[in-house]
Amino acid sequence: MLKIDNLRVNYGGIEAVKGISFEVPDKSIVTLIGANGAGKSTTLRSIVGLAKPSAGSSITLDGKELIGMDTPDIVSKGIALVPEGRRVFPDMTVIENIKIGAYLRNDNLDEDINWVYDLFPRLKERSWQLSGTLSGGEQQMLAVARALMSHPRILMMDEPSLGLAPLIVKDIFSIIKEINKKGVTVLLIEQNANMALHTADVGYVLETGRITLSGPGKELLADESVKAAYLGKKKD
């Protein structure tokens, strides 16, 4: 289980995350929703060690503290992040991007390559294409495929739906569920609250660095203030 306790992060004097605590139980789908600047990405970046939390914060995986560890060491513990804006390596081919996702592994990759190609048949067709020439949706698929190649226990995704056509967003979310069924824990952050809450077991609402609301996804969907703020429905 991944446990975040009293996480605080400063960015150049501004406190982006102001002491949040939440848990990601094994094999669940947890989502953090919130507007721009709420501190969602900073939270994920802190978990993988790309942002440095302030003293007093704690992030533990099965009781072991992750703060202070290097990113590659955290990744080797089974946490993978699909970063915001996909960040595929544009000068590498699709297959190279997939292989680099398995950088820490030394076993045979064929089976897993076939698996991600089955999940995303479009990538298979474009195997030898340079990743920079893919469409946004294809790049997102590639970023997810790349993250899966490390065999993560916990897959974290930073706004996978950003800038994608609604149909592709639906595809991505159904694949998230499929991956979760295989036993992978998913931590998802989204502005697309509707899709995220429909998919997630548990949701947390983040506002300017604080968690203001939490509960099962379905319950949050019905919550009046969530409806008003994120789902574009008026309060009656």
């Binding site: 790309l50 590659p72 990744v75 544009p90 590498m92 292989k99 680099i100 950088y103 490390s150």
Partner: protein, 293 residues
């Protein structure tokens, strides 16, 4: 000019170009990963020259060469460790100034330790043997340099495109954060890059100084500057670019000498730099700056 004189000059030019290419690759590799122009690179090359003098004083050449390669690699890697790594998150200008500082430090250290008087470079017997092919005659090193350069470049390209560490180098050169998310240890890749750059500088130094016979504390600065220009000409960050830049520089310089304008042979480098910066500032194979988001 007779045909054989012409070919003879071409051979000299290609050979000089090969040594330039090896050094230029060092600039381009480090720039590709760190976006840093390693001004100390020419002085690492000079130090390799001194290492050879001392190694050959006690050992036969076949032991001296590996020792020189190893010590030069250690020097390059420690410079990165001490002068560049602590500045990893500092602005790029600070790292560059640190590189200039290291360059002066090495020059002055060499002056202090070995005096400013040129020291004779040891002769490696088999490299100095005179060979004759058709009408051409030159020492073995002149024939060896371009061949060795091409073999090394080929091996390097295979390393970068086909191996895991090469893939990691390409990833780090694009995006530190994402590379570390793949589990790549950035500092290890950077150390490896400096090791390769310094190794090539050491090989280049053996080939270059064998032809020139003396080493002094500033014998790295002009070749270093020229090879930097070669890397910029080819498009800094690109290995084939650095190689082609090196060869063009070597051939151009030799051509000027052959035509009797030896006074201007050094100026050729800088004219070339000005021309390429005016016509194609990113160099022959420079990175395109357009990014698809």
């Amino acid at each position: 000019m007779s045909l054989s004189t012409f070919l003879q000059q071409c051979l000299t030019g290609i050979s000089l170009g090969g040594a330039y290419a090896l050094i230029a690759i060092g600039y381009t590799l480090v720039y590709g990963i760190l976006r840093l122009i390693n001004f100390a690179h020419g002085d690492i090359f000079m130090m390799a020259g001194y290492f050879m003098i001392f190694a050959m004083a006690t050992f036969p050449w076949y032991i001296a060469i590996p020792i020189v390669l190893l010590i030069t690699v250690l020097l390059g890697v420690s410079i990165e460790r001490v002068a560049y790594r602590p500045l990893r998150t500092a602005p790029r200008m600070s790292v560059m100034i640190s590189a200039i500082g290291v360059s002066y430090l090495l020059q002055n250290l060499a002056t202090y330790l070995f005096t400013a008087l040129p020291k004779g470079y040891p002769e490696i017997p088999f490299l100095k043997k005179i060979f004759k092919i058709g009408g051409l005659s030159a020492s073995f090193v002149t024939f060896l340099t371009p061949v060795l350069t091409l073999i090394i470049v080929y091996a390097l390209i295979i390393l970068i495109n086909k191996t895991k560490i090469g893939m990691a180098m390409r990833a780090v050169s694009k995006d530190y954060d994402t590379a570390s998310l793949m589990g790549i240890k950035i500092n290890r890749v950077i150390t490896f890059t400096f090791a390769i750059g310094s190794l090539l500088a050491a090989v280049g130094s053996i080939l270059y100084f064998t032809d020139r016979m003396t080493v002094f504390p500033f014998s790295g600065s002009l070749p270093g500057l020229k090879c930097f220009v070669a890397a910029v000409f080819g498009g800094i960050g690109s290995i084939p670019g650095a190689v082609i830049g090196g060869f063009i520089l070597g051939l151009g310089e030799t051509a000027l000498v052959a035509m009797g304008y030896s006074t201007f042979s050094d100026a050729f480098t800088f004219v070339l730099l000005i021309v390429i910066l005016l016509i194609k500032p990113t160099g022959l194979f420079g990175e395109k700056t357009t990014d698809k988001v």
